[in-house]
Symmetry: C2
Subunit: 298 residues, 2 copies
């Protein structure tokens, strides 16, 4: 019996990657349960192969898993996370830890945490912040909720990378989702920009120009500058982006991000802040947020 009794509810890609990584760190006795067990399907067959490969013990029922493990990681598909939590709640013992790594809705996780707390079970919402297949158990994670520190204490010695953030369960997932709007948007924006640059034969000069601008300031400063400038210059910028869109159309490129940029700038311009602020942009993120609140910006 391992010192840490760890169990996975749902044994798909996430559980397989993390458990095989932890096995390589020397952790034994990892358990798992998945609804396909007993179905006699090809899914079950493949799952048993993977469990065998990762040296994971399969439990016949969820009750068996929840009763025999002090730390449960829930890695089912998001729509089934509520069902898994409810089942765990009935069978786990006080003092144990339940960690939800699904992408279930933040508000739901916040609600579940309260139910677990009411039965003295620690609950953590832990969001994965990078690709799992490459990083396996070392995928960067953030964790929030009353069980976040316990989850970090137990797993970091086994090579996991867990940052605890203050706030209720739900916040871990919320941070991931907000961050994704930016990080994935940045990727999509770069793709569209360099597709246009390339078709214009200008990728080198555009690369240097954009990089120089971004590298010029710590990004925190760029953020606060841009949030403020948007309030003053949105209308003019919307017109300028229209010219970029016209260029994309002559090259038969689809202005997806550029069209959205124009729309978002028009929404900003409609706040009418240029005149109201007399051309003086807020200098901090806090100030910008309070202007958004006052204008009920959406």
């Amino acid at each position: 019996m391992a010192e840490l009794s760890l169990g996975f509810v749902g044994f798909g890609e996430v559980s397989f990657c993390i458990s095989s990584g932890l096995r390589d760190e020397g952790l034994s006795g990892i358990c798992a349960y998945d609804v396909v067990l007993g179905s006699g399907t090809l899914y079950e067959e493949n799952l048993r192969k993977r469990a065998n490969e990762a040296n994971v013990i399969l439990c016949d029922t969820p009750e068996e898993l929840f009763r025999s493990c002090k730390v449960i990681v829930c890695a089912v598909q998001a729509p089934y996370a509520g069902h898994a939590a409810k089942s765990a709640l009935s069978h786990m013992s006080a003092g144990s830890l339940y960690v939800d790594v699904t992408t279930a809705a933040p508000a739901e996780k916040e609600r579940w945490e309260k139910e677990f707390q009411a039965r003295s079970i620690y609950f953590a919402d832990s969001a994965m912040m990078g690709p799992l297949t490459i990083n396996r158990h070392k995928v960067p994670m953030i964790a929030s909720g009353c069980g976040a520190s316990l989850w970090q204490e137990k797993m970091v010695p086994l090579g996991m990378k867990i940052d605890v953030v203050k706030g209720p369960a739900g916040d871990g997932t919320r941070i991931k989702l907000v961050r994704s709007v930016f990080m994935k948007g940045l990727g999509a924006l770069l793709v569209e920009t360099f597709l246009l640059a390339h078709r214009s034969g200008l990728e080198d000069v555009v690369l240097k120009s954009i990089s120089a601008t971004v590298d010029q300031l710590p990004f925190e400063k760029t953020i606060s500058r841009m949030l403020g400038a948007d309030m003053i210059h949105a209308e003019r910028r919307a017109h300028e982006v229209a010219e970029s869109i016209a260029l994309m159309e002559t090259l038969r490129l689809k202005p997806v991000m550029a069209a959205a940029t124009k729309e978002r700038l028009e929404l900003s311009a409609a706040m009418g802040l240029k005149d109201e602020l007399a051309g003086l942009a807020p200098k901090t993120i806090e100030e910008a947020c309070s202007v958004w609140d006052r204008k009920n910006y959406r």
Copy 2:
């Protein structure tokens, strides 16, 4: 008579800001012509006041302007740039310099350059890369075309900031328009991200997380990494952004940039590169561009 005989065709905001800046640098004898002259309208009255303020001599006809100045800056509204170029072409003398700072279409500027070159007149396409009202004549500009170096040589001693880029007239404007897709998109993306972060009560942690990621690498490296990763991870990312969009909707925020991100990711995913490249992302921008060409990506 000043050493540099400089004239503006079109005396609107652009010409006024630049000429008043150059006057403060000690340049005298600046001339200008505008179509409103002789109209007897309020526009003409205001224009004459501004010309007086900037110490600019107004010419009665375009011919007079084009014949008396060795350097002509065209700053009319974009739809009239072609007309101005044609008129200049008939009246300017060989060896003189015509600089188009309008936002007329790059392909048009490229065409005009050839006509000017055929009459031995230098032509430069010079794009403004920042706000004019604050910077006046010191607004950062890029210039391309056969007259770009001459434009730089003549004006940099007077405080102007002109970067010459290789390539025909048209490229200056193209670089500006491509750059705008990114810079204005980045602004709009930050606005939408921090609007969501703020409404989730997470602006501080999101600020730190995003800044740390962007500041971690020189931006050139981030760009090439992201262009390659897009080819492998677009499909998964589109699903992840859908979760962010769901969160925005629960907060009644409009997912403008996020919806476009999802659409662009779906276009990338439709190339089917994940399997074709066997999960191996291109490492350079050049490689990524050649994959786009092969797939005729739009």
